[in-house]
């Protein structure tokens, strides 16, 4: 028989998987509400009204600095939680075995899931944006730069989704994936320029924070959303995004091919 592979079938399979997953997102409203709506809103309110008074930032306006940071953190939380847990559950329930026994392109299983998570991230972003505007956040940049900021942020989330996919395929259960996914992303997002200036951190921590892709992403958004030039940060973010995608896409696909349990 003909091998029905090639880019067209790869995309078609990914489209089918994304359709399946989007239905799951809509039909499990509890998860959508929790990850996409409640958690980001709680974070914004918490930082804006509880910590905001105590933390001084250069330039003075904490909300302006806070909102881009919460955007980045929430995009990472939601993509890592959903992708890692979802894939681990498919693995442990035998659903993945069924997909893998079909003559489909196996990497589409991952691509489809991640594509639908980008959709979920876009919903999360919209909610956070609304909430941010309510607590006083304002754009000052050009519409082009603002759009570019959101585009880069979604691409950044896409890249980390591949990290999450790899973790999800390694984990033995949904619970394990949840733990493995969050245990590094929590310090990873906090050890950055997200909530306090990196200059206040002790030497090694500061070095890590200054070179973290999270810092580069946040600095880029802060610049672009207030109409400033982001300097190297935007380029650094783009390079991280491409590199993480390439490396972890490869790792995840290899893992899916050889996985045996």
């Amino acid at each position: 028989m003909n091998r029905l592979t090639g880019p067209r079938w790869w995309l078609r399979d990914a489209w089918l998987m994304a359709g399946r997953n989007s239905r799951r997102i809509v039909r499990a409203p509890g998860l959508l509400l929790m990850y996409a709506l409640i958690q980001p809103v709680v974070f914004i309110l918490l930082f804006a009204y509880v910590f905001g008074g105590a933390i001084k930032v250069p330039g003075g306006d904490y909300v302006q600095a806070l909102i881009p940071a919460v955007f980045v953190q929430m995009i990472l939380f939601s993509s890592i939680g959903a992708v890692a847990v979802g894939l681990a559950e498919d693995m442990s329930r035998g659903v993945m075995d069924r997909f893998r026994s079909l003559p489909m392109t196996r990497s589409s299983v991952l691509l489809g899931r991640i594509a639908s998570e980008v959709l979920r991230s876009a919903i999360t972003l919209a909610v956070m944006l609304g909430c941010g505007l309510l607590v006083g956040f304002r754009f000052h940049g050009s519409p082009g730069l603002i759009a570019a900021g959101f585009g880069l942020l979604l691409a950044f989330g896409f890249a980390f989704s591949w990290v999450a996919a790899w973790i999800g395929l390694m984990a033995r259960s949904g619970e394990a994936a949840q733990g493995l996914g969050l245990v590094w992303v929590l310090p990873f997002t906090f050890v950055s320029s997200a909530f306090v200036p990196t200059a206040t951190m002790p030497g090694p921590v500061r070095a890590f924070a200054d070179h973290s892709p999270v810092t580069a992403m946040i600095d880029t958004l802060r610049a672009w959303f207030s109409g400033r030039d982001a300097g190297d940060a935007a380029l650094v973010t783009a390079v991280w995004t491409l590199a993480l995608t390439a490396v972890f896409m490869t790792l995840a696909v290899l893992r899916l091919r050889r996985t045996s349990s």
Partner: protein, 304 residues
């Protein structure tokens, strides 16, 4: 249709398959019978291209599962040990997804899904989420999903484990009809009754090796032939009864009031008359045919 030769697989030094051989004829139902950990699921996973064997050959429809996995996937259907249906999708959506991933057109996938839902008595709940189904319904949906690929070889890994007796029977009758459409079936089971009801060939596996192969009848014969069990009205007559019965078979055994002896089934009326002539009144008589259980225990050394 399915051919396995000297197949070996170990997980981190623990041997799962230890030189297994198996041959399943096209259009038949074959059962792999064995206790937990015998290697049944490992074999299914290798045949379904989910797992690579360490050595040996495994072919489905003349295609090697290791060298031509893509071609094998085009021939097979899998219903694994865990029910692989998506709880948040409806029964119909579950089947259509599998069909479309198998490269059926949308129209074709919908048609086949409707047909299978009807055949498995799920037509009435096709639009409900699979999460609301009973265990038996989920299992039937899972089986239907395995058939969305119109497989020439279907693998069923413990298809009725955990089901109540009624659901089990419904599933059995569904499985029994499949070879009519030319599907070859390899199923694993721990239930001897299941192998007996469904399969025309049974392979007993233990510790990764095939220890016996044959029809259910042949395997039962290996556990010995039929036995007559005579329940005495008066246990004191046991010596007389034993003497009479020893003319019909070797070494009658006495247990309580029951004397048991291997007999030819046709000799039963004569045995009854001789006991009567010898003045041994009885309160019960049974002809016990060996079950696959007896065969299984005999083959695995009673260690199941």
């Amino acid at each position: 249709m399915i051919r396995v030769e000297n197949l070996r697989k170990a997980y981190r030094g623990v041997v799962a398959l230890d030189g297994l051989d198996l041959d399943v004829a096209e259009g038949s139902i074959a059962a792999l019978l064995g206790p937990n950990g015998a290697g049944k699921s490992t074999l299914i996973r290798i045949l379904a291209t989910l797992l690579r064997p360490d050595s040996g050959r495994a072919e489905v429809g003349g295609r090697s599962v290791t060298a031509q996995p893509y071609q094998v996937r085009a021939l097979i259907g899998l219903t694994g040990q865990f029910t692989a249906v998506d709880d948040l999708l409806t029964g119909h959506e579950n089947l259509v997804l599998v069909g479309r991933l198998y490269r059926l057109s949308g129209k074709e996938a919908h048609r086949l899904a409707d047909e299978l839902l009807g055949a498995f008595e799920l037509g009435g709940v096709a639009g409900r989420r699979a999460g609301t189904y009973s265990g038996g319904m989920r299992r039937r949906l899972d089986l239907a999903a395995g058939l969305m690929t119109r497989p020439r070889a279907l693998f069923l890994d413990e298809p009725t484990t955990g089901l109540d007796p009624r659901s089990r029977r419904t599933l059995w009758s569904a499985i029994r009809r499949l070879p009519e459409q030319g599907t070859t079936i390899l199923l694993t089971t721990q239930y001897l009754e299941e192998a007996d009801r469904l399969a025309s060939a049974v392979t007993v596996i233990d510790r990764g090796r095939a220890i016996a192969t044959g029809t259910p009848e042949q395997l039962k014969a290996r556990a010995g032939g039929a036995r007559a069990e005579v329940v005495l009205a008066d246990p004191r007559q046991a010596p007389t009864a034993t003497e009479v019965m020893s003319r019909y078979g070797a070494r009658p055994t006495l247990e309580g009031e029951t004397v048991t002896v291997p007999v030819a089934e046709s000799a039963l009326p004569d045995l009854l008359r001789d006991l009567d002539t010898a003045g041994v009144p009885i309160t019960g008589l049974a002809l016990r045919r060996p079950t696959l259980d007896d065969a299984f225990l005999a083959l695995t050394g009673g260690d199941s």
